[in-house]
Symmetry: C2
Amino acid sequence: MSKLQQTLEAIKTVDKSLEPEIQAHLDDLTKPKGSLGRLEELAMQYCLATKNVKPELPKKKIFCFAGDHGVADEGVSAFPQEVTPQMVFNMLAGGAAINVLARNAGAELAVVDMGVASELEGEGLISRKVKAGTENMAKGPAMTVEEAIKAVEVGIELAEGAVADGFTLLGTGDMGIANTTPSTALYSVYLGITVKDITGRGTGIDDDQLKVKIDVIERALDVNRHLLTDPINILAAVGGLEIAGICGFILGAAANNIPVMVDGFISTAGAVTAMQMKTEVRDYLFFSHMSQEKGHRVIMEHIEARPVLDLDLRLGEGTGGALAMTIVDASVKIYSEMATFSSAGVSEKDD
Amino acid sequence: MSKLQQTLEAIKTVDKSLEPEIQAHLDDLTKPKGSLGRLEELAMQYCLATKNVKPELPKKKIFCFAGDHGVADEGVSAFPQEVTPQMVFNMLAGGAAINVLARNAGAELAVVDMGVASELEGEGLISRKVKAGTENMAKGPAMTVEEAIKAVEVGIELAEGAVADGFTLLGTGDMGIANTTPSTALYSVYLGITVKDITGRGTGIDDDQLKVKIDVIERALDVNRHLLTDPINILAAVGGLEIAGICGFILGAAANNIPVMVDGFISTAGAVTAMQMKTEVRDYLFFSHMSQEKGHRVIMEHIEARPVLDLDLRLGEGTGGALAMTIVDASVKIYSEMATFSSAGVSEKDD
């Protein structure tokens, strides 16, 4: 059995038998029942995912997966492809938004080259290049199924390593010029949504480029139609290397009962791919924020997810995830540090 | 001229001439322009409010104002009035939700007795009791105009003290059984909204109690009708001591160019009162979260405010504000710590 198959088999729905004990503790904290709303939900989900009714503060690490996209040749992005390696170096140097927000969250950050088109070396870079950028999916499959599986398995291995290092809350991030294009294609196929309803402006394209982008995605789906048969084949045909890495990373974490904070539009495409492979993975996912990228709201509604934050972010990298990790931290502190009604001598509700 | 009048005169709209310099810096950070959405807005507002184009990390302090309400006699709350002092002691002991979330935000916390009905003493308590709880507003004015002014001026003085201590981001909070009742009455009068459209369940009353609550508020507005003439008279007639304190606290901060993070339903009533007294105060206000208390969404839409967070909180104490302070911190770090395009050697957008 392949690593991917083993991992999929290992993913189980969370153990709901712990729920009453966790809920009883939440209800004994000195506040009206349920009055901390989503903080209580987040604490519950974190406890269930990690199978721990007395959790410590999450030990957090964000993995930012980088990859290039052959489809960038079609003029679907506002930025040139050279920005992918430039931003990887910016991350390694500590100057990108994700560096600031990971530090702010007390999370470690790893940057992974899954498939940047140029040769990359740099201190701290995790080199797992499966392929030097995908092929142009408007003309054929972005990658072979073998390459897609390899990229997914890289993600699984990275998650396993992070679990072995003791991290208890993992985060996803992405860097890859043009990567809203394959993400949109994946959503369209997996969820059956019309391309133009979810195609957005990415890093900031104008109306004409938006029309081009929609046309390119439709062509990609057309030319690859015969390959769009199951989750991994679809990922290979119209996905991306960093998206495959994110998908695998999520699967690897869930298989080890470690929850994952999913960043925005690109990371959610990895998450939806993972959910297509194994529905149960959903129990381990926090959806961090509602991206300003046009289709994200449609997709969140489609998968019935309510993100933690809604701050009009559209940067990726893991930035929304890093911010939302701080809210999960707060929820665990509420769970662990508040006084209970009995200990504090506070009267309960009149009945 | 009274302290209140002096403070109102000192509040000026922010200096927009700094905006181009701040915006130019935000646009030079290594990200697509505007892609950090509300983080960029928050950084801009913080810079403008503090008149500082190179801000340091905010030094933060939350003041939780406690007071009791004579109208609790009418059965408008799910909890007995004895909970107000009990929760004050819980806060002084460090066990309440606001203690956890203030620590989490790196914010100091002060608890102020503005008008708890019982005698209170405790280490760390700031005693500024104006009156041992308001009168029952369903039968007459909650307090005299002199008492209301005194409570507002206590808030101003506390803000002035915090400014003198070097705090650069202040937060509001409240504790007071039954205080959604006067808050709702204030909203109704100030904003011209029908009582039943904004009366909610507070800490968790049932349908019958909700009907009672609506009736009590309508009676309070009726019996005090002749007093509802200007902001301070309205505050005296159907407000509360902690709400008056919050109002003054906001005014005192704004008069000193220090922004205030406004917590939920009760704090917003203090903020709306302050805005009724001086529109310009708005420039200094961050609205932290959309409370789950029914009327809050209506009120946010009415005053055209978009809160930072929407986490179904309905606890008060300053909890939503403490959480949202962490997002403002993140925004200031983004502003201060990210690399610029020129320094990082990253290509800008194709034009």
